[in-house]
Amino acid sequence: MRRALSSGWPTSTAPPLPRGAHGDVFLDGEWLGVLPPNIVPDNVVTILRNLRRNGFNIMAAEVGDDERESLVVDAEENPFRELSISYDRGLDEIQLTTDEGRMSRPLLVVKQTHDLEQNKTELVPTLQRQHLNEIKGYDSAALGWNHLMNEQCIEYVDVEEEETCLVAMDIGALRQAHFKGTRRVKPGEIRDPVPLYTHCEIHPSSVLGVLASLVPFPDHNQSPRNTYQCAMGKQALGIYALSFHLRMDTHAHLLHYPQSPMVTTHAMKHIHFTEMPAGQNVIVGISCYSGYNQEDSVIMSQASVDRGLFRTAFTRCYRDTASRKLNNAEIFRRPGADTIGRRNPDLHLYDTLEEDGLPRIGAMIGDRKPLIGKLIPTAVQTADSQYQDDSTFVRPGEAGFVDRVVLAQDGDGNMVARVRIRILRVPQVGDKFSSRHGQKGTCGLLFTAADMPYALNGIMPDMVINPHALPSRMTIAQLMECLAGKVGALAAEPMDATPFSSTAMTVQTISSRLHKLGYQRNGNECLINGQTGIPLQAKVFMGPTFYQRLKHMVLDKVHSRSTGPVQALTRQPVEGRIKSGGMRMGEMEKDCMVAHGATSVLRDRLLFHSDATTMRVCQQCGMPGYQPNLHSERPECRHCGSAVLVAITIPYAAKLLMQELMGMGIAPRIMTQEPGCGGVLLQ
């Protein structure tokens, strides 16, 4: 293509550039040349576009005119098909790009038709009824998608070029379009006004991307809520790949009983969401009930959970490598009684492991239990201590079943073991859920069936959400989804919530359908309080809504520590849940304690429950001393010889500071006096 474009085209390549040269032409960022003054860049662009649409092989230029027609190329073979042509008016540059990996999307081509008799010009999509009648099927070789491309009905436009296009949302807009700059056309003259549209969307909802297409009725939501859902949809649990049982991913979640949403969008079909959905249709009641669903939390039905609602399998893969060195190879083996340095003295713990150090599939394994047995040769080889335990253990806090074991070799010939643990995650208080409208919340409480409100026909909600979540967020689409879902469930029909469609459902249409099906038209029902048996005074809006279980689960976050590992340098608690660390009391938190006047609390947090230590300090000269062995040695200060060493309680970090200062030649003397006074003298 480069060769094609650089030959036979009206570009000036010989320096110096002539006067009036304009319109730099770039191909993939590389400067090709410049247009001579008499050539209009717009025309160049038009010609190139026609080429792209025509499928004209540029080599035909070298062929005679009469042979040109037979060289029309099918869309599949058209080398210009993915060329993007854009003209930047401000910079006066024509940018041609052929990069791989550009995002491009198909649009309908719009052309102008001139009606000489009526002196009217119209914008019309190249795609006409006859084309649609011709199409036999998407994959049909002759009359499918490619046929439409050959017929110039459709072309792929990338991001750069779309900036220069004028895209109509739908055909209706084309009909209402007016040309700018109308003037009386002289007979025989081809008028050339500026068209209002160059392309048209195949369907208005194709302006939305993959994630946004998951939202039902997004045109009825406040826009930030749609944005939030686009982010949360990525955290929803479902089936992440059909090959999940063969994959050894470090973390993976699987929803036990995924359901296709009751209320869907057209685009969902094309992204196959309905085939691998990430959520379930949940009967949701919107009511203030017990107060456990305040502040965006959600009441869930224990009965539904018991029957498998939102049950998830969480999978974690542990891996280990037995490196194969010449003399002392590491081996996978169940550590025996003769293995020294066993991390856990109880030999029976290793019973889940088989002889080869790998666990039995299906075995139940708890936290901190050995999972992969590995022995490494000891540093010092003696008769009875040859091997040392270097087994891999299950993470603290996780317990499950051994799901799959894979033994393989890596590139260096070492044996690699991977063990997958499967943990059942039943929804519990604290786990996060969300609808498709940015309405996230955690489970506040699991109500037993007895406590749940119920309708007279026995139906009780799986979830009760709080009505306060709705007014300020204006997420009406959720209510519409619920109403439409109710109709869909009763009429056994899928409901279409595609935005911008001419056959869009309105609340009126949904309501009247619901009414015809025998329910209150607004989706409200009379529910009876499960705890008291008295009917609730207010009617409750109840219906199915597609909810997602998000990957934030309380089991992954809950953490506590009283004492535990400390850092080597500062002797302060380590950081991180995995390392059993402490929660940081930061500067601003300290300020709050100070503001309360709670000094003892501060001291407790920052000293006694952190790095408190006793340090000996010479009473006379204030220099840090050493801890004498009181039996055998008389205490003596190194610096001044005084025999009185006083023990003070200070943070270890302070002792560290003192020692670091001493390392710099600064004497941090801690002057102690009677209780209540004290000072630090820096010398």
Binding site: K590, G597, L630
Partner: protein
């Protein structure tokens, strides 16, 4: 600002303390009737309040302004009561009255001090239906509760009001959107507001981004305003010249400039060539002697080279030519702009002046120096003094927060302003300002520039008394604020044999003593009752041998005698 919401409190009191009583029916002992309690008149209310305020209870506590608020409220209440009584024809001179269906029983205060109250009964046709009903008990309780609520709102001693002020100002600051608001109607003046302005004030920045003065005028009318504006607003030579050019001639070499007399006239600047000549001579960059510059008749000015000789003639003239446009011919050099503005409150005009030079502007004729203000704190400090600067800080900060709709209690600003000005100079809350006012090395080192402070302290042999928050935390010492304001002293228990036992305390204060020695749980053999604190302390620290372990006692440490395996040697 005051903690008490009087109308709400009165409603509450009325609900809690009834204005009626239930008594036995004097005619029929088996029945009970509802008897109204005496209703207090306006006069009675005022007297009751006076009496309450003068009690010991009210004495130290509410400030005068708080008492004033209560007084105002009661005055309003009595006025309403009196009005109603007048409408019903009741005697407002009385203290209380009990209106029944048949009669009204009045109570009056004694004619003079100390004389008893007396009563009077007046027959009545219709029982008055009064709305504003307050009984004596209710009035008493009202005053009492007021005082009590005030006490609840009082800050406890040892409260860390600095941290409280910082949080109370800082938190709403995070809610402030960085919007610029119009300056009182003048579209062109955009004063810095919001978070950036707060930063400027707190950091006591010398050059603020929009220094604006609200200049009040002595004369009324637009002419006076224009006059002062002309005097203040700086005009540069470059703005009033038609041309400035070098002229080279066989006979002379000089810079010529032509003043635009028409513009000067229309701008009402009464500038003559002489004025300009003087301004040029004054300009520091152009070192001209008076004989080098002369004026023409039509506003021309001729300037020769500053040098006596012909040395560097061309370059000298060039230099002069380049410097000339920036010569200030009129107004104050520090004032870039002066805008006439209609006063927001009341009639007349004021000038909004953008720039510095507060003192000069105050001294300009036509300016009312008593009411002119500026928003530049440091200038106010220089010109009007530190107290004025303190007030200016308060004003500016509260203006900034109020402009964004935040209402923060004045006290926090008072704290901030006091902190910034108590040394006598305006010190910002930055590492520079803090260095000036703080002594603690560790505190400064923990804020910014750690090593600098440590090295400087080491060089000087500085002693850090661990008295502040930061250094106490570093050294693990109880912080002397809030709960740490005080220590704890314990009452020793007197045993049967006359000796005293002090329960063991872990930590700082142990003043157990015997004939020497410090133990965790020991028995006093000396009676400290007769000693004063110093003697007790001395005794406690005398060190020496340990006392024998008491027979009774829950010894925390096992073993006896001198330091053994478990014992600690010294304690501090």
């Amino acid at each position: 600002m005051c903690p008490v919401n009087f109308p709400a409190l009165l409603a509450h009191i009325r609900a809690v303390y009834p204005s009626t009583n239930i008594e036995q029916d004097p005619e029929d002992p088996t029945r009970q009737i509802v008897v109204p309690l005496p209703i207090v008149s306006g006069k009675g209310l005022k007297e009751a309040m006076e009496a309450s305020l003068n009690t010991e209870f009210f004495g130290h506590g509410p400030s005068d302004s708080e008492k004033l608020r209560l007084t105002e409220f009661v005055k309003g209440l009595s006025a309403r009561v009196d009005k109603e009584w007048d409408q019903w024809g009741l005697d407002t001179e009385a203290i209380t009255c009990v209106p029944t269906a048949t009669s009204i029983r009045y109570t009056y205060a004694g004619a003079e001090e100390g004389m008893p109250e007396w009563e009077r009964e007046v027959p009545n046709d219709v029982a008055p239906a009064l709305l504003e009903v307050v009984t004596q008990q209710q009035m008493r309780e009202l005053c009492k509760t007021c005082r009590h609520k005030y006490g609840l709102a009082r800050l406890e001693a040892g409260s860390v009001c600095g941290a409280l002020a910082a949080q109370s100002i800082g938190e709403p600051a995070t809610q402030m959107t960085l919007k610029t608001f119009h300056f009182a109607g003048v579209a062109s003046m955009n004063v810095t507001l919001g978070v950036p302005r707060l930063k400027e004030i707190i950091n006591a920045v010398e050059r603020i981004s929009t220094p604006v003065m609200s200049v009040q005028l002595l004369g009324a009318g637009i002419e006076a305003a224009r006059f002062v504006k002309g005097r203040l607003e700086r005009t540069l030579l470059g703005e009033v010249c038609t041309y400035i050019r070098e002229v080279f001639d066989p006979s002379l070499a000089r810079v010529e400039l032509q003043l635009d007399m028409k513009t000067l006239a229309s701008l009402q600047l009464d500038l003559t060539s002489e004025d300009v000549k003087r301004a040029i001579l004054k300009h520091p960059k152009i070192n001209l002697k008076p004989d080098r510059i002369s004026c023409g008749r039509g506003g021309e000015i001729f300037i020769g080279s500053p040098n006596e000789t012909r040395e560097q003639l061309f370059f000298e003239l060039q230099r002069v030519k380049l410097a000339l446009p920036s010569v200030v011919v009129r107004g104050l050099p520090s004032v870039s702009r002066a805008v006439i503005n209609h006063k927001t409150s009341g009639e007349g005009y004021e000038l909004l002046v953008e720039g510095m030079g507060f003192l000069e502007i105050m001294g300009t004729s036509g300016v009312d120096a008593y009411t002119t203000i500026t928003n530049n704190i440091l200038e106010i400090s220089r010109v009007l003094g530190i107290e004025a600067a303190r007030q200016a800080i308060i004003n500016e900060v509260s203006k900034t927060m109020a402009a964004h709709g935040m209402s923060v209690d004045l006290r926090h600003f008072l704290m901030l302003a006091d902190l910034m000005t108590n040394t006598g100079n305006v010190t910002g809350i930055t590492r520079f300002g803090m260095s000036k006012t703080r002594d603690s090395v560790l505190q400064l080192a923990s804020f910014e520039r750690t090593l600098d402070h440590l090295f400087a302290a080491a060089y000087a042999g500085t002693l850090d008394n661990i008295s502040g928050v930061s250094e106490s935390i570093i050294m693990g010492v109880p912080i002397p604020v809030g709960t740490g304001t005080f220590g704890l002293m314990k009452q020793p228990r007197v045993l049967k044999d006359g000796s005293l036992r002090v329960p063991s305390t872990k930590g700082r204060t142990t003043t157990l003593l015997s004939d020497g020695g410090v133990t965790l749980d020991s028995v006093w053999t000396e009676d400290p009752k007769g000693m004063d604190l110093a003697q007790v302390r001395a005794l406690a620290l005398s060190g020496g041998k340990r006392a024998q372990r008491g027979k009774r006692g829950k010894g925390k440490w096992k073993g006896k005698g001198k330091g053994d395996k478990n014992g600690k040697k010294g304690k501090n």
